[in-house]
Symmetry: C2
Subunit: 332 residues, 2 copies
């Protein structure tokens, strides 16, 4: 992949996370499914925000978190996502660009739609429940895809969440075409169990149609996708359909399959899990960084596990520690 | 103080903190004085923001942090500060109101000036260096003071930083008059050594003029204010001029004086100091909460030390833990 200008181009919803600690009683009162991501409109965003406690604002968005992680691990990352020209848009653009991620998507006026935000409620068990107002992120049109940038990227990484809004879905389908025409690879994350329940046929169509080279899922997601009776069966069903399959299993570690090869790692120990937001995104960042550095499947999984462990040890889905140094100290 | 509707009304600059980890080399390159707060204009704010790394946005402002701490400790707190009607203004208003602080100051249009922000650079030694763009906060005029609210508050707490911009200085002088006419008390924090070097005569005028009932300072600040040869001499010089004097001394603990009475506590142990932003503000919150609950000087200092220890254990100047439960577990 040495002829590529970027290692990984990540395309996703550009979202600022608004993160508040809460308790299970609050989720119950609000009728929220713990651990899920639901889409909300502006009115519900205002209502829920008025009910929730004080928060911190940290850039997020699944693919954006992955791009940030790759850059912090020393990889050449790009990001494509739609912001508005408002204060939260300034924050998002700063955060992604200041760590060296290439990000050039032009913004839309705030009057059309404000920058997306996700109200992230974190319970004492560190589980996050996300309530996302997509705002400007829904306006990611096909013409926002810089086709040269896609062609110049070894891997284009897409989040399943992009399938929710109509315009970004088309943008993502175009990115897949362009990447494959240029002989590049497509990586895809299933994102969320509820997202799969909304778009199972679409996701299966992508996978069965050979559109996905590298697939990321967690245990729940691969079960929801396949409807298989057990984890082994689900993995066996999906692995022949993609070049690389990566499945994360929380405290049970993670597994990667490539052809006949299978690698497995335990979860990285964490002193105290504070907020699981971004665990999957940073796992993907670590794994893809390893892959683009031609590391073994096993070592790529290890980098994923190290990056995921860092991000769940504090609030927010962007790494706080020096990830590159952390990996070097643990893996060499 | 049982006839008061609010225990403490805090008046200060309403500022969103933009907090980034950095290193000493960055401070040196930018010519920044570690540990200080400097005022910057919009242009410098943009320039420095472009240079600094990814950040998290958390509501801050000295008196705002104190109000938040008092509310979290179970006290009846109010806050007065000037925001714009922009996204950062929404964030600030939400954060302070959602923990039960009374906050009714009308906002100004963003076109006049945007909500204030402070670029807070945190070095690995947990020291913070603040670069504050005051924006809308400078527009806190005398008519923003709700005189009834001041009269109904047992203590009105003012930050020394308010002395920097002209309009808020006048607002604060009016608040002092109104409070004293109503037989209420004025608490004041010296805020920052550099702030004292800018306004030493003004601060001494307030203290010598009997305008301050409860004075908060740290060791450096009381030395800068008095120019005394040693700590003991500085305390001896100031204590007769105020009803209560509280001096914090970082890892050396804190001391409080009231008339002939002197109380002292050691610093509360902290597992890992991450970011010292807000330590003094939360100390004041804890001490004032104790005082309004008619606790002893010693126990009031202890509550201050517990609240300060919590806030320096993570990024941001607003408490993350349940402060009330924390104090109950340690003090009863």
């Amino acid at each position: 992949m040495t002829d590529a200008r970027l290692d990984v181009l990540c395309i996703g919803n550009a979202i600022v996370d608004v993160i508040a600690a809460t308790d299970d009683a609050f989720l119950a009162r609000e009728g929220l499914d713990k651990g899920s991501m639901r889409l909300i409109d502006a009115e519900e965003a205002t209502r829920l925000y008025d009910h929730m406690g004080p928060a911190r604002e940290i850039s997020g968005g699944s693919a954006g978190n992955t791009a940030a992680g790759i850059a912090m691990l020393g990889g050449r990352a790009g990001f494509v996502g739609q912001l508005a020209d408002d204060q939260l848009g300034d924050v998002y653009a700063h955060d992604v660009q200041s760590i060296g991620v290439e990000f050039t998507t032009p913004r839309i006026p705030e009057a059309e739609a404000p920058t997306a935000r996700s109200l992230v409620l974190v319970t004492p068990d560190a589980e996050r429940t996300m309530n996302t107002f997509l705002g400007a992120a829904q306006a990611l049109t096909v013409d926002r895809i810089d086709e040269d940038q896609v062609r110049e990227s070894a891997i284009t990484y897409l989040e399943g969440y992009l399938w929710d809004p109509e315009l970004p879905r088309a943008a993502m389908e175009r990115a897949i075409e362009v990447a494959h025409e240029a002989g590049r690879q497509i990586a895809f994350t299933l994102s969320d169990g509820f997202c799969i329940s909304r778009h199972r046929d679409g996701f299966l169509g992508l996978i069965d149609g050979g559109k996905i080279d590298i697939l990321f899922a967690n245990e729940d997601e691969i079960m929801a996708l396949t409807g298989a009776a057990g984890f082994e069966a689900a993995v066996a069903e999906v692995r022949p359909k993609v070049k690389v399959l990566v499945v994360t299993r929380s405290e049970k570690g993670a597994i990667a399959c490539r052809g006949d090869e299978t690698a497995q790692v335990p979860a990285e120990p964490v002193e105290r899990v504070v907020d699981t937001t971004g665990a999957g995104d940073l796992f993907a960042a670590g794994f893809l960084t390893g892959l683009t550095q031609n590391r073994s499947l096993h070592d790529s999984l290890r980098i994923g596990a190290i990056a995921a462990a860092e991000v769940i040890s504090h609030y927010g889905a962007r790494p706080e520690a020096d990830l590159k140094a952390l990996v070097a100290s643990k893996l060499g």
